[in-house]
């Protein structure tokens, strides 16, 4: 591990439009070597476009970007030699077996026969593909495909890895396995650039998070710094009658009420003590509460906090 961390990925003022629609609008990125960086945003925010530009698949309209010190335009071949990319769509050869797919990667990475075999064997073990490796990929389950896809990306031992929504569509167990793999890679000094729609995923994995909205980075920082900008969790109280709602609103501090839906929102850390105090207050005043739910912050809250609109609005764009 380097004590002084050099940047693995730098992007300045990246812009990209498709047919008149602005997809990226002056995006700046800075990812330190050996760290995990999460690009958080809803569908259509431009996450995949950023990955495609940084991995040389498409050129930016303007702006500069480099990965591991190699410029995406001028130095594309050297850049490709240092990166690994696992896209959103599986990049496997369906007609070949798992092993043949991995061996293809070993050959294309110019590993000699012995080290190629060794590397493939090691990855097959690590990704729990031993039983499936001689079957055609077309017979694999979704989770197995993702694992093979990731294993293929790692055959060339890349220094920087791009993962575009690595856990979208995975079951909870496969999700945790993938997180474990990502953490292990980062522990070995590999820089990870991942995109995700899930706040909890970014929170659990990333050293730094950037929030992307309609092609612009609207917030950037550590998970903790970002969460400080989000209004914490809240408790949602539903009432049967408007009188009860107004009565409750008058005795509970900081509550915001919605008369149409008979809902009261109370900021809360969700602790039992604070809930008991609030319920006691309501009980003493003989106010009936129909329903109570506790809400912890998610991507929607991040969006509301940093953009002033919900994720659905960002998706419509």
């Amino acid at each position: 591990m380097n004590s002084v961390r050099r940047p693995a990925i730098v992007a300045t003022e990246l812009c990209k439009s498709f047919g008149g629609t602005v997809v990226l609008d002056r995006v700046d990125l800075h990812v330190a070597e050996g760290t995990i960086f999460a690009l958080l945003g809803p569908n259509g925010a431009g996450k995949t476009t950023i990955v495609r530009i940084l991995s040389t698949l498409i050129p930016a309209d303007s702006g500069v970007a480099s990965v591991a010190g190699h410029d995406v335009c001028r130095d594309a071949d050297a850049l490709r030699a240092t990166i690994g990319v696992t896209g959103q769509f599986s990049a496997l050869d369906e007609l070949l077996t798992g092993e043949e797919n991995l061996r293809l990667m070993a050959d294309l990475n110019h590993l000699d026969r012995t080290s190629g075999r060794a590397r493939v064997g090691e990855l097959v073990e690590r990704f729990e593909l031993v039983d499936a490796v001689s079957r055609p990929v077309s017979t694999y389950s979704g989770g197995m495909r993702r694992r093979l896809d990731l294993a293929m990306t790692l055959v060339g031992s890349p220094n920087v890895i791009f993962l575009d929504e690595p856990t979208t569509g995975l079951d909870p167990r496969s999700r945790r396995t993938t997180w474990e793999i990502i953490r292990n890679l980062a522990a070995q000094g590999v820089t990870i650039f991942l995109t995700t729609q899930y706040l909890d995923e970014a929170d659990r994995l990333a050293d730094r998070i950037a929030v992307l909205d309609r092609g612009r980075i609207v917030a950037e920082g550590t998970a903790d710094a970002l969460k400080r900008r989000i209004p914490g969790g809240h408790v949602r109280l539903e009432f049967a009658a408007p009188q009860a709602l107004l009565a409750a609103a008058s005795i509970i501090d900081d509550a915001s009420h919605d008369e149409e839906n008979l809902v009261l929102q109370v900021p809360s850390d969700g602790s039992v003590a604070s809930l008991r105090r609030m319920l006691d207050q309501l009980g003493d005043a003989h106010i009936e509460v129909e329903q109570l739910s506790i809400h912890t912050p998610d991507l929607d809250d991040v969006f509301l906090a940093v953009t002033g609109h919900a994720t659905e609005e960002a998706m419509i764009e």
């Binding site: 495609r52 769509f89 050959d107 294309l108």
Partner: protein, 267 residues
């Protein structure tokens, strides 16, 4: 030097992959080889009795009747074979381009041309094997070529040169296609061209307009060259036109394919 050797090893790696894929998906190859065989049987046995009547003996390799007609059409059948086989090339190229694996290749440090070269080389091997099968079937049916070893070598050379040209064209068509279905249709006109040339009847028997087209389209000089090499009919300047057409089509298609590949937009 290393760059050149990497280009070669990468192309060889991807060629192995493509040949392995062809083995896993044999129905397509069988269908594409089966088609010219069906045409050959159809033309010799169903139409040959009638069509051979109007055929001058000099064009039939000295034979008459069905045997003479088989001698006459075998070069055309070989071109149908090549045109059908490259249809498969367009399909496998489109399968690659519409799947996710192409994005993986394009983010790896592989020589850019190696992916396409791998397809063209696989196509060439497939073409060669198909042509050997077709010549075998033709000989079994009574095809009697008079070619000497040098003429056979020239035949193979001509067929392979034309195969390379059509393989690049099919690769470009496969790259240009938005879907695998489109890619399986666009090269189909190639299998028609031997019929609209001197492949099955002399162009002189065609009406004006079609005749001019038939005389000047690329398949005709190539058919005439192959016919001359195999059965000793006159070649004249056809070999020069055939070579020029092949190089022209190949080079243009190569540049087109390379451009399409470089500017490919991921789905």
């Amino acid at each position: 030097m290393t760059a050149v050797s990497y280009t070669l090893t990468d192309s060889a790696t991807l060629l192995r992959r493509n040949l392995r894929r062809l083995r896993r998906y044999p129905s397509m190859t069988l269908m594409l080889v089966g088609m010219p065989i069906v045409f050959m049987l159809l033309f010799v046995y169903a139409f040959g009795g009638q069509l051979s009547h109007g055929l001058p003996g000099a064009l039939a390799g000295g034979h008459s009747g069905r045997a003479g007609y088989l001698n006459y059409i075998t070069p055309g059948i070989l071109l149908v074979t090549v045109a059908a086989a490259v249809q498969g090339t367009a399909i496998v190229v489109a399968m690659d381009m519409t799947g996710g694996i192409i994005d993986r290749f394009r983010t790896m440090a592989i020589t850019r041309s190696a992916v396409l070269t791998g397809h063209v080389l696989a196509s060439l091997i497939q073409n060669f094997a198909s042509c050997v099968v077709i010549v075998g079937v033709a000989v079994a049916l009574g095809f009697r070529p008079t070619a000497r070893p040098t003429a056979w070598l020239a035949t193979i050379g001509m067929l392979m040169l034309f195969s390379i040209a059509l393989a690049w064209l099919a690769t470009a068509l496969g790259l240009a296609a938005k879907s695998v279905e489109t890619a399986s249709n666009t090269p189909m006109f190639l299998t028609l061209l031997p019929f609209l040339g001197s492949g099955f009847v002399p162009t002189a028997t065609m009406p004006a307009g079609l005749r001019q087209f038939a005389e000047y389209q690329p398949f005709t000089p190539i058919t005439e060259t192959l016919r001359g090499l195999l059965t000793g009919t006159g070649i004249g300047t056809n070999s020069i036109a055939a070579t020029a057409w092949s190089i022209g089509i190949g080079l243009t298609s190569y540049l087109w394919a390379r451009r399409l590949y470089q500017h490919h937009t991921p789905r």
